[in-house]
Symmetry: D2
Subunit: 333 residues, 4 copies
């Protein structure tokens, strides 16, 4: 793998990428936060929390602890939405990530001295963006409630966001339902607001791709042996591993959110195509589906679809992605 | 009418009611803004604008001018949403209020020296509420986009809002469609967020009631003759009058939004019943309908409906309402 | 009441009205079937059954027994739909009418010697209509599944139907949900097919009106004392009475379906207005609502609504209706 | 190709397969009808028509003429639905197949002496099924309106249908919209009735697979040179070819419906997996999508999905399919 690792580092930006992460940790969020929090080429401006894998109180506690693990007392953490934008939530996905979102090991992590920022998530994001000198990358790895609220309540902020990278959706497949991936399903209306007719640069990393980048026991073993951070992260995965063992019959995990952060750090790590995307917001069987218009441009035009596209990640050198993740998470002292 | 007027004044609060108005002027918004801006017992803290009767640029310009007419250079005006929360808007209701929202006479109003506040509508509302010492009444007389965003992005602000008064919806009837009233139809998802499972004190003033409080030519004549403000307001109504003449065959107008502001100034001017309310957000024929659960509490419980209610205005002494409005708008020097 | 009764009989057609009844008995269906089966001025050509108040097996058994009670061994009974047109049913409304649809007294009724017709409900209706020499009145007093199937599968049959009378829907109110009346809610897609853009003569009798025609203990007592049929019918009402006592706190019942049959027998017994009607088929809170476009013709046209109307029963001399029902059901020997 | 052809013939049933075809011709329907009408191992019991590629009058005329081309005066043809089950149709797909559904060449085909059967499509299907001694294969290659009506109005007929083969849907892709294939999109409610919780043997041939079986100019040339039938069929393709050239940039056509008929003649020509399937019936962007639950059985169960599956064609030896079609359509004298 050495060649690939070198290649990956070349992909990374030379100057640090200013970044905001909106998250609902979650085991794969843990990997994603660690990736952003410890990468030298990332300037992590803020972490905002949202309900999702577990409830808001727990996702916020988890985010603080994960930053503490990474030695990041400095990064402001603000509390976001406790429920979806329009329809009050009835479900949670607590089982896949354990009751506390981190396989039951959240309490083993250190507390962070610095508590939450007094501002709401939306206000912190708006303030950080207003103060930014260069384009900020916003990475959304939970339900899109906070991001939709930011774009709707602070339209002026959009100009300061260079790029939005979203983990979510699927190409004709789902995980929570037959049609919907968890992040989108958890707040379809917010997702529609963010994705449909998206202006500016927006990359969607769907579960088709993150599944292809799944990591196995060898990868997890190498990470565990790489040092304290690696050991801690792998220690958060037992319930998550069990979920994949039980549901898919294989021995490894999908680090969905970390793949999205990797793309945010190293643009074009994933190969994307631009497609119009809408989200089904009805209450029918396709609720939460990302409707990706994969038809040819000629066909789309003949049906009057003129929307600008979302950059949907459709392919990647998956060994390169895995190597990038392992290298980044291993080289932390 | 003198007795009634006296009675009305007794209803009004003795100390000024702190108030924020969210509006999309609109002819009836003009009456509503004038009512709030000139009433001695109102402390008008902010006016925020939203797309609706006309586009956001025009509603904002109209709001500034109307405040100028009322001599209110001091009230901060902030610009809000230019589109609905979830689904981009395809329609406008420009015809009923004329192309400029004020029967084509917007340009005849004076410009206000004080322009818009640099903050977004949501941030201004959040700041004003944070600074408030006593409960603020929030009156929403346009599409509910800004209000939904405030509640979702700034949940802490809810505690500072004593009361929300909304003009919108209908009891099994609509105006824009068979089922939907304009304000709700213009952003059903926002309306659902605000109305469904509403916490705290929320009063909904539906079009059934505002229609019953319609004013005729005699009322309009009395207002016109009462002084400069009355003359100006009546001067903004020709296109609006024409709409009612053409569509309903009668000679007068419905000052929807002013009825809601009247209730905000003089609580219990309208008689209300508490009902659970939801908004239909599908794309079917009932899109934008306010689904008011008028069944008995026993029936509701037997069907598992336990939601707290919205105070829906179902009745009023309509002559008293008309007298209240005329009196308030006439006694301005 | 004598004058009214005479008046009612004058309203009835001079020559028997050929009639098909589609039903899901149900206590009020029992009154309705008895009304049609015993009225001299009705030529009852067929009774077809549908799932609804209870399941299809029970509604069919109930229909047969009720016809036996009325001495009508001759009327063909055919079995219709056991489920809605599009979405499989998850709910039943067994409680209001008792577990067997007739307050637990179905088994006390005599069995009918003549069993069900071997044809399906749709085929029987199509055959009866094909053979008809004069226009047939089709009265639908259950979910509209069979009627929608008839109209869709046998479009040629429409020309033989002089008039369709439907008990269902509400004007901005419901009973099963805040927005939906039972018959429509039980199969909204079928109802939309039947009601939207209805061609020909269709009268909708909504629950607003049937509630106004509710009958009290005096009426029930008079019917019970009128003879064997009256005694039997009233004997089927205990669970149904209990439902109204518990849910509405009053002592009487609503004989929804009998009001519709009364109108079918005596056209213009109810006063109707023509409105375009659609049915909300989404899965949202308004699912099953009858969206009645009560706006003025000028307003409808300005919004592009050109649909022909359904005759919606909006008013009646309710004492006359009650007298008509009591007279008809009492004068059977 | 000789080996493959022999293999295909072995796959075909030894005794003729009784078959009903429900169709909306359409160029690919022409190939499908010819395949069934001329195959020795098919006993074509009936052809029923439905609106779709063009309107009902034209699809019926086309079906008659295509059977005349095949020398099949004997096969009864009955007229089915002119519109979808629930929502009146607003669109047609006339362009892809030319204004007359057959690239403008419908009028060049001979008229059939035997006109349409006097019965409706649903009644003809019910009668044919009632009379059948052995299981009938029903092949639906248009909107599913007639089939849904048959199943709903004649539930007893289901037992006589050995197998339903449907051309329709897509696995996360569409052609008419981003999410929906034409046949399903043209009547989603009917498709949901047929596909969701399907009982008995039902095979769905989605456009993913039919596209993979697309035929090129060489195939079309070989068919044209094979004899009069082949020459006629290829003569109906110019507008259809132009559609593919313009929209997809390649030189050939997709004979969707013929692939489904091939599978109906030669079961297991296509490889299928069993998945629960629902159809999105909302009015949102996924309207008409076939929601195929491709998740593992363990995941489905953990989310409470217990529905029996539809056999979805997911793979095939596409050269074998093309050879089967060419061989069958060529060997007609
Ligand atoms: Ca996450
Ligand atoms: Ca307004
Ligand atoms: Ca009934
Ligand atoms: Ca076809």
């Amino acid at each position: 793998m050495p060649d690939k690792v070198i290649e990956c580092e070349m992909i990374g930006a030379m100057t640090p990428t200013p970044m905001i992460i909106d998250t609902d940790p979650g085991v794969d969020d843990a990997f994603a936060i660690a990736l952003a929090a410890t990468s030298q080429d990332v300037d992590l401006l803020a972490v905002t929390t949202v309900f999702g894998n577990v409830d808001l109180e727990q996702t916020t506690a988890n985010a603080l602890r994960l930053l503490a693990v990474c030695g990041r007392e400095d990064v402001p953490v603000a509390v976001g939405a406790e429920r979806p934008l329009v329809h009050a939530q009835r479900h949670r996905d607590s089982t896949a990530h354990g009751d506390d979102g981190l396989s039951g090991f959240a309490h083993t992590l250190p507390d962070r001295s610095t508590g939450v920022d007094p501002r709401t998530a939306v206000r912190l994001m708006a303030d950080v963006l207003e103060a930014a000198d260069e384009p900020v990358t916003l990475v959304a790895i939970g339900p899109l409630t906070n991001v939709a609220l930011l774009l709707a309540a602070h339209p002026e902020a959009r100009a300061k966001i260079g790029r939005i990278v979203v983990m979510g959706g699927g190409l004709g497949r789902g995980n929570v339902t037959a049609a919907a991936e968890f992040n989108i399903w958890a707040d379809p209306e917010a997702a529609h607001r963010v994705l449909a007719g998206a202006s500016g640069d927006l990359t969607l990393v769907p579960l088709d791709l993150t599944h292809r980048c799944a990591v196995d026991q060898a990868w997890l073993g190498a990470l565990r042996d790489s040092g304290p951070l690696g050991r801690t992260l792998v220690g958060l995965t037992p319930a998550y591993q069990e979920t994949y063992r039980r549901s898919l019959g294989w021995d490894g995990i999908v680090v969905h959110d970390a793949v999205a952060v990797a793309e945010a750090i190293a643009p074009n790590l994933l190969r994307t195509n631009a497609f119009p995307v809408e989200v089904e917001c009805s209450l029918g069987p396709a609720r939460g589906a990302t409707v990706v218009d994969g038809r040819s441009a000629a066909v789309r035009e003949s049906h009057g679809v003129l929307a600008k596209g979302v950059h949907v990640a459709v392919d990647a050198d998956v060994d390169q992605v895995r190597a990038f993740l392992l290298d980044r998470l291993s080289t932390v002292d």
